[in-house]
């Protein structure tokens, strides 16, 4: 089946089985491998993307259900080429990642949180990010990173380091 998708603002056409999860459409057919495979059953959040701005599990989203919804992946998180999203800046400043495998999913979930709540508390962060596993245990840095991104968004304090 042919599907026409809007991914990171661009029109993309793929010819795949209707039950193909968006995760594998992105990774295998559109060569957007930033969206990660961790569990395939909606448990880990490594595959988090935005559908019309709302975080969703790409591994649980059959391509046939996407329709005209706008798909945003980690490759499309930055506001423009050569620019970084405040979260990406904060992640760099604070060296949040260890292996980095979970981080695209963490960033996509965090981006939605921060858009709705630019000054989240630890509790807000824990609530929003509870679906994203980090096997390396970078959780305390993720909390700091989100708060730091909030500051950057607010035009606050200069870059650390």
């Amino acid at each position: 089946m042919k599907y026409s998708l809007t991914v990171n603002g661009a029109n993309r056409t793929v010819d795949v089985a209707p039950d193909t999860p968006l995760l594998w459409v992105l990774r295998d057919h559109l060569e957007l491998t930033g969206t990660k495979f961790g569990c395939g059953i909606g448990q880990c959040g490594a595959c988090t993307i935005h559908l019309n701005g709302v975080p969703a599990r790409a591994c649980m989203t059959p391509v046939s259900t996407v329709g005209r919804m706008k798909v945003t992946t980690i490759e499309g998180l930055a506001p423009a080429a050569g620019k970084l999203h405040p979260l990406q800046q904060a992640w760099t400043e604070l060296d949040v990642a260890q292996c980095g495998y979970c981080q695209p999913g963490q960033l996509m979930t965090a981006a939605a949180l921060l858009r709705d709540n630019p000054k989240p508390t630890d509790e807000d962060i824990d609530g929003a990010l509870a679906g994203n596993i980090c096997r390396c245990g970078t959780y305390t840095r993720i909390r700091q990173g989100i708060k730091r991104a909030g500051e950057i968004l607010a035009g606050g304090k200069g870059v650390a380091q």
Partner: protein, 742 residues
């Protein structure tokens, strides 16, 4: 890089012509000298040419040879070279080296060895090249080298003249490599980079989702494979509905592989090769296999636990250590404590499932793999598939977590075996279920402990009957207790015995093998003894460590290897324990009922760590870690402070995660759990509210930090739970323990 003002002796194009080396630069100098013998030390292992490329443009490329799995070596080890080379970090590009141990020396990442194994050589490597650049400037200016100094990618003469490294590359390339004695290392007081917080070099790619990991690899014409193995370990595929599977959409081929009869190498199974991952996954759901499950299918964890309990009071199969007369000391003890401690098998659960891409053509194999020990993968492919090592090219990809899992090469050899049958590059992707059910697990274990105290509250007797798991007569990795494991050697009447259950279950190193569980058992039991003695847990531990500064290895009976225990600096441990207690305000805080602090320490992987947990347990038994303080002594120099802190913070979360929920049931020779809904990992909601990490610099060699922070985590938390609630945790995971109190 600072701008160079002097004209270049040779322009870049001429230079490349001269050297005949694309990428050009100083690299060749070492190659030429190495070929002549030159200044390369005997053994041919130290070849500085392989690591540094300095282009006439001034661009510095440093090759990182170690596998990167999140432990940060791709950043920290090149930092050492850059420090001694005296180049600004911003001028450096890091490149991941392929597997080539003849060129680079050892490339395995495990046992927290990457830093200690390379630390001194990388200092010398950077300093040697800096020395040559200084000499090149001196010759250019016809001045003594002593009047010249390297400063941030330039050489400056005392007169103020200045040349960039790029401009000096061509001249430097003509120089002899100086002998080690003629190379002066930068002093730690002059370090500009080491000890600072530097973000990982892959950060830009990580945060923007660029391809980086094994699973991200895409090659033209690539096919996608899955590999179904017998749910029971080591079982064989007798037959499968291959003809039907081959008719399914996107499927290119399906076949049975025999395996080589070793559960940690090439397992028997059924490969499905398709034109996309999803086509392969979908076809797999319709695969029907008849298995010959083999002998392990009769074995279950519960049966072994029952058997251990039945045999606990009997003498063990082996005596690991016997000092004094434990029976007599226990009989004469003023107070006695006995307890059973139990921990289950657990999985590594790397977030990136195992995978490898392989391409076999014209008798040659090219492999891309997230592996910790590439040499083991190549050796296994040669041994199992008969492809000679010189026909194998192995590219190291970033790995989405290691934790010891990727020391195994089973997934790599599977991909290679499939590739041998497929006329295209093929990417093997394990499902999460494959990953959990075909791991090389941290072995579970049971310890039956008895301790005796004299009237003054000193430990006079310690007896342990340890039940472990193994295969072919040997305990699994992390399943063998060293006779020197603390507190062996510290207690006058000491008996450690071991009984092993032989299984066909695959076991492998799990982050700080052995230490990660023994520390929990022993520091929990030491806490029980402290409580029985009516002593403060810190003071009790300091008394137990005693006043001597060094504890030599050995002594006692039994034939175990003292690999981790070994020589033990009691002074370093005492100091880090006091240092950490101080940082954690030990003994200075009043906790309300339901809250409390716990302490533990451990020496492993050459690192000395002490930790204090502060926890709150609600009346309905919910645990929260409010504060977790770590103190570590890993020698003189923290290489990358951010990376080191990240490893310790991650160890705290990892140690807590393993304690909280992780457990595998093994029934009829197979793992029951298949995915994260059944095998929950720690989430952000359970992570400590606050993690504090402190390092104590001591005058000892710099050592690694991927593992030594993990062992004391679980006992510190469990001892805090006891302080908070009076409930002693003697079983992992905590999800099985009722923590409610009133």
């Amino acid at each position: 890089m600072s701008a160079s003002t002097a004209p270049r002796a040779v322009n870049r194009r001429d230079f490349l012509k001269l050297t005949g080396l694309a990428g050009g630069g100083l690299a060749l100098a070492f190659q030429i000298r190495s070929a002549h013998g030159g200044a390369t030390p005997a053994g041919g292992e130290f070849r500085p040419n392989a690591f540094i490329r300095l282009a006439p443009s001034g661009a510095v490329t440093i090759v990182s040879k170690q596998p990167e799995m999140g432990q940060g070596v791709k950043t920290s080890l090149p930092m050492i070279i850059a420090e001694q080379l005296e180049v600004p970090w911003s001028a450096v590009t890091i490149e991941q080296g392929d597997f080539d141990e003849k060129l680079y020396g050892g490339q395995s990442a495990g046992g927290s060895r990457s830093t200690p194994n390379n630390y001194d050589q990388f200092h010398l490597l950077g300093a040697t090249v800096r020395t040559m650049l200084v000499e090149a400037a001196a010759r250019t200016w016809k001045v003594p080298a002593a009047e010249c100094q390297a400063v941030e990618g330039t050489v400056v003469h005392s007169s103020g003249k200045k040349l960039g490294y790029g401009a000096l590359a061509a001249t430097a390339a003509t120089l002899e490599v100086p002998a080690k004695e003629n190379v002066r290392l930068k002093e730690p007081k002059d370090f500009k980079l080491l000890g600072r917080r530097i973000a990982q070099v892959d950060t830009p790619r990580i945060v923007t989702g660029q391809p980086l990991f094994g699973l991200d690899l895409q090659l033209p014409g690539m096919l996608y494979a899955v590999y179904e193995k017998c749910p029971a370990f080591g079982g064989k595929a007798v037959s499968a509905n291959l003809d039907f599977v081959k008719t399914l959409p996107g499927v290119k081929d399906a076949f049975i592989l025999e395996g080589n009869g070793k559960v940690k190498e090439l397992n028997p199974g059924v490969a499905i090769v398709a034109d996309s991952t999803w086509a392969a996954f979908s076809a797999r759901r319709q695969l029907k296999v008849t298995w010959d499950e083999g002998k392990v299918a009769g074995e279950s964890w519960d049966k072994f636990v029952a058997e251990a309990r039945a045999k606990a009071a009997e003498p063990g199969q082996r005596t690991l250590r016997r000092d004094g007369d434990v029976a007599q000391a226990l009989a004469g003890a003023a107070k006695k404590v006995s307890a059973e401690y139990l921990y289950p098998f657990i999985s590594h659960a790397n977030l990136e499932p195992q995978n490898t891409t392989a391409h076999f053509r014209d008798g040659k194999l090219e492999v891309w793999s997230p592996t910790q020990v590439p040499a083991a993968g190549v050796a296994m492919v040669t041994r199992v598939l008969g492809i000679p090592a010189d026909k194998i090219t192995l590219h190291l990809t970033r790995a989405g977590g290691g934790f010891g899992r990727r020391i195994g090469a089973d997934y790599l050899v599977e991909a290679a075996a499939i590739a041998q049958r497929v006329p295209a590059p093929v990417k093997l992707t394990w499902s999460r279920e494959d990953d959990l059910r075909h791991d090389q697990y941290r072995p579970g274990g049971l310890h039956f402990l008895q301790g005796g105290l004299d009237a003054q509250g000193r430990v006079t007797a310690w007896k342990n009957h340890f039940f472990t798991f193994g295969e072919g007569g040997q305990p699994g990795s992390g399943g063998s207790l060293s006779p020197d494991e603390f507190p062996g050697r510290w207690i006058p009447n000491f008996l450690a015995e071991q009984t092993m259950f032989d299984t066909g279950w695959p076991m492998g190193p799990w982050r700080a093998p052995g230490s990660c569980v023994f520390s929990w058992v022993f520091h929990s039991f030491i806490d029980e003894l402290a409580h029985a003695a009516g002593r403060d847990p810190l003071a009790f531990r300091l008394d137990l460590l005693g006043t001597r500064d060094e504890m030599p290895a050995g002594g006692g009976g039994g034939g175990g290897k003292g690999k981790q225990g070994g020589g033990y600096s009691v002074a370093r441990m005492r100091n880090i324990l006091k240092f950490t207690a101080e940082k954690a305000d030990w003994g200075k805080k009043q906790f309300p009922r339901g809250s409390g602090a716990g302490i533990a320490f451990h020496f492993s992987h050459q690192g000395y760590f002490a930790q204090v947990a502060e926890v709150t347990v609600s009346k309905d038994g919910q645990l929260r870690v409010d504060r977790f303080v770590s103190g570590g002594d890993v020698g003189r120099q923290i290489v990358n402070l951010s990376g080191a802190e990240n490893q310790v913070e991650g160890s705290v979360v990892d140690g807590l995660g393993a304690l909280l929920t992780q457990e595998l049931n093994i029934e009829r020779g197979r793992v029951v759990q298949g995915n994260f809904h059944e095998y929950p990992l720690i989430r952000i909601t359970e992570a400590p509210a606050k993690i504090e990490t402190h390092f104590l610099s001591t005058d000892h060699p710099t050592t690694g930090i991927g593992e030594p922070a993990i062992p004391p985590v679980a006992p510190a938390v469990c001892n805090a739970i006891f302080a908070a609630t009076g409930k002693r945790v003697r079983q992992m995971p905590l999800s099985r323990v009722d923590l409610r109190w009133s």
